[in-house]
């Protein structure tokens, strides 16, 4: 089978399967999960049975059902964040590249300062003002993350605008908007696609991390990071309860990374280190 005109490698197939399974779980959550995400159906941390596949959590909710619903919130929030981050970062990045020196200087210097503050620290400061609701979370992380998207898309676009075909469009008298949309954007897309995967991983881990700190998605909504936090103490008793959601987070990131690696390898060339001696 071919995807995008290329044959995926074995590792790429594994990645596609993992990502596909989690996305399916997120979409069809109500049909897959035997219970809702907030029902208390068993005793605290009851062991796995045929009814409760992964056992129950710290207040007796079915862990498997919460995992399925958790896919929805965790992946949904991370995806929304990444899309918003790309809309902001990509348009500002292209604008900086084609809009002239002044625009570029102002945007770049501002982003430099933003980038000098560690992302998590910045997010903590803002969340301490606003409190955590899902929209605040998405907007805050998207704005902070868009600085990274800005950096890359600006660099990619800068390499493109010096090319002669962009200059030819400029000499023809084309406007800024046309040049951005027709000459630069289509050629900037390939590197940005794999970047989308990487940024998604990053935001996904970031949202999970914030939820783990109790500052992300708030209960009673199920989300993987929060589930790890809720069940954290179980680990001291040798129970696996916090490891299931943590493993789901890890598997999702590995899956996306495998797909991204494969996309990157399509265009990669061997380096000098492998030359015949």
């Amino acid at each position: 089978m071919r995807i995008l005109g290329h044959k995926p490698s074995l590792s790429a197939w594994i990645g596609i399967l993992i990502v596909g399974a989690f996305i399916a779980a997120a979409i069809f959550a109500p049909f897959i999960a035997p219970f809702t995400e907030s029902e208390k159906v068993a005793k605290t941390w009851s062991p796995p049975t045929s009814e409760f596949l992964l056992g129950a959590d710290n207040i007796g909710r079915d862990l498997f059902s919460r995992m399925v619903y958790g896919a929805r919130t965790t992946i949904g929030v991370a995806l929304a964040t990444t899309i918003l981050s790309f809309i902001i970062g990509l348009s500002l990045g292209l604008w900086a590249a084609v809009g002239g020196k002044l625009v570029d200087q102002v945007l770049s210097r501002f982003v430099d300062v933003m980038l000098s503050i560690p992302l998590l620290v910045f997010a903590l400061i803002i969340l301490s003002m606003f409190g955590s609701s899902i929209p605040t979370l998405i907007i805050t992380i998207a704005i902070l993350d868009s600085t990274r998207v800005f950096r890359l898309s600006r660099a990619v676009a800068m390499n493109l605008v010096v090319l002669e075909y962009v200059e030819a469009a400029r000499l023809r008298g084309e406007g800024l908007w046309w040049i951005m949309r027709r000459e630069v954007l289509p050629n900037a897309m390939p590197p940005m696609i794999s970047e989308f995967g990487l940024r998604f991983c990053f935001n996904f881990l970031f949202v999970a991390g914030l939820s783990f700190l109790g500052l992300g998605i708030q209960p009673p909504l199920a989300d993987w990071g929060g589930m790890v936090r809720d069940n954290g103490k179980a680990i001291s008793f040798g129970l696996l309860a916090p490891l299931w959601p943590a493993m789901a987070i890890a598997a999702m990131t590995v899956g996306v990374n495998l797909v991204v690696d494969w996309i990157l390898s399509i265009n990669a060339r061997p380096s000098g280190a492998s030359a015949e001696m």
Partner: protein, 536 residues
């Protein structure tokens, strides 16, 4: 034959992707003999050069044949054995000296590294020998020269230092991979003369790789013509130059010869000027790239601007189209003053001046179809309907000699020459009065370049368009231009009808430039050197 010092038999090299880069090539080299390898891009010359040291670049693999150096097949021996042969018996001179010297070390340390590590000399002897080589290669202040870092010396000097590095173990064979291609013509002739002297003095055999037949003719005893990884023809230099046996070699020789003489043009009245530049000064930040240049182009005329890199010829082109800020002087187009800044020029002025670039690869948007690329100026300047645009695209493709069905394809799969034709079609789509050509053929292979020049000539006859032709290649100038201007360090030092500029060099630099361009005669280099010595 046992007296062959290098013997390559049935060499085959493949890329990892499976493409055959070199196919069944055999050659031999006697002690002290120089074999020229000549061919266009993709002929496999450099790959063969590296394979003679049993080395293949990443992504390639030697899959068949033998490489014998002094009777020993170095493909069959251990990696340690090969390492011993490299440097001691066969050494390599790369095209780009700037990239091939390690930026972290002094030049002399990099040169002495080889004889010391191969156990041929101790450090002191190696230094003394390096200094002797610097002297033989005419490097300034030979005792101190090697103390500098690679980025501290000029390109021509670094190229000579690399020849010294190759000679440091006194190998029997040298491989020169386009050693003068990255240099300006006036530097090229110096380096070429020194390489020739070096080979003669030490009686070293050499493989000399170049795309320029005239350069190879100066140093090689025999010439091998390659195409697409296969041997086309091999023979004594004089025989290949004067009686080539194959059609391909004949075409190469004929094309190269055409560059040596001025062709006759129909006369064009120079008075009817379409573009007049007077006293223009152009600045790159604080650097003056164009100094008080005045030049004019008449309707239907070709004016060539020649000069070496850094002469300001491309800056002049950018100044005219409005990409380089003009700080003073004037540029008049069809009697109207052009605004210095691009954004202040009306659309009709932009339409009437078009530009063709050196690298057709990057001049075409890889994500647009050829129809979109050529059709856009028609739509943009003339506001035509989609059907009219498509009709115009078809006729333009015909005009530049490409099939009509190319309109739906992307340009990425096309060859360099075809891409340049599309660039020309895009320029013509605007129905310009003048096309500024910035080295449009220098990234192309000779025979392809020749066809592009012919196409440009034909279009001028048909449409009466004027050309301002920027080039470093005097061969092209002789063939196509009505008038020629010579630039040096931002200034115009000669300007007039081509025959006059070339016949009566007013400026010593013009003469130097002219005499440095290799001509397709075996004794050209010696002649020029003798003449220069007599004058000095």
């Amino acid at each position: 034959m046992t007296d062959n010092i290098l013997k390559i038999r049935n060499l085959r090299i493949e890329a990892i992707s499976g493409a055959v880069l070199v196919d069944d090539v055999s050659l031999e080299l006697r002690p002290g003999e120089v074999l020229g390898l000549i061919g266009e891009g993709g002929a496999g010359k450099s790959t063969i050069g590296l394979a003679s040291m049993a080395y293949a670049r990443a992504g390639c693999k030697i899959t068949g044949g033998t490489v014998e150096i002094e009777g020993q097949n170095i493909r069959a021996i251990s990696a340690d054995g090969r390492r011993k042969v490299r440097g001691e018996h066969i050494a390599y001179v790369a095209q780009s000296a700037a990239a091939s010297f390690n930026p972290a070390y002094r030049i002399i340390d990099q040169i002495c590294e080889m004889p010391v590590l191969h156990g041929q000399m101790n450090k002191t002897d190696a230094r003394a020998w390096a200094i002797e080589l610097f002297r033989a290669l005419d490097l300034p202040n030979p005792e101190k020269f090697g103390e500098r870092y690679p980025h501290q010396v000029s390109g021509g000097q670094l190229q000579r230092a690399m020849a010294a590095m190759a000679m440091s173990c006194k190998p029997e064979i040298l491989v020169f991979d386009e050693p003068t291609t990255a240099l300006d013509v006036t530097t090229q002739i110096e380096v070429l003369a020194l390489i020739k002297k070096l080979i003669r003095e030490f009686h070293t055999a050499a493989l000399y790789i170049s795309h320029d037949l005239a350069v190879v003719a100066q140093v090689a005893d025999r010439i091998m013509v390659l195409r697409g990884g296969k041997t086309v023809e091999i023979g004594e230099t004089a025989q290949v130059l004067h009686e080539p046996k194959t059609d391909y070699a004949r075409a190469l020789v004929a094309e190269r010869k055409a560059a040596d003489k001025i062709s006759t043009h129909r006369a064009v009245a120079h008075e009817n000027a379409i573009l007049t530049v007077s006293d223009a000064v152009g600045l790159y930040e604080s650097f003056v790239a164009v100094k008080n240049v005045s030049i004019s182009v008449a309707r239907g005329e070709t004016v060539a601007v020649v000069g070496e890199s850094g002469s300001g010829k491309s800056s002049l082109a950018r100044l005219i189209v409005g990409l380089l800020p003009r700080s003073s002087g004037s540029v008049k187009f069809d009697g109207q003053e052009l605004s210095p800044a691009l954004k202040d020029r009306p659309r009709d002025q932009l339409r009437r001046i078009q530009l063709i670039y050196q690298q057709p690869d990057v001049a075409l948007n890889p994500r647009q179809t050829i129809g979109e690329i050529i059709g856009r100026p028609v739509e943009f300047y003339f506001k035509k309907s989609p059907a009219e645009v498509a009709e115009r695209v078809r006729s333009l493709l015909n005009q530049v000699g490409l099939p009509e069905d190319y309109a739906k394809r992307l340009s990425t799969a096309l060859s360099g020459g075809q891409k340049q034709r599309i660039c020309i079609a895009r320029a013509l789509a605007a129905e310009p009065d003048i096309i500024i050509c910035d080295e449009p053929t220098s990234a192309l292979d000779q025979l392809v370049a020749d066809e592009i020049l012919k196409l440009l000539g034909r279009l001028q006859e048909e449409l009466g368009v004027a050309y301002l032709f920027i080039t470093h290649d005097l061969g092209i100038v002789r063939r196509i231009s009505h008038r020629t201007a010579v630039m040096l360090r931002g200034e115009l030092i000669a300007d007039g009808p081509t025959a006059e500029v070339f016949a009566l060099p007013f400026h010593p630099y013009t003469e130097r430039l002219l005499s440095s361009v290799p001509e397709l005669r075996i004794d050209w280099l010696d002649e020029v050197l003798t003449k220069r010595k007599a004058e000095a």
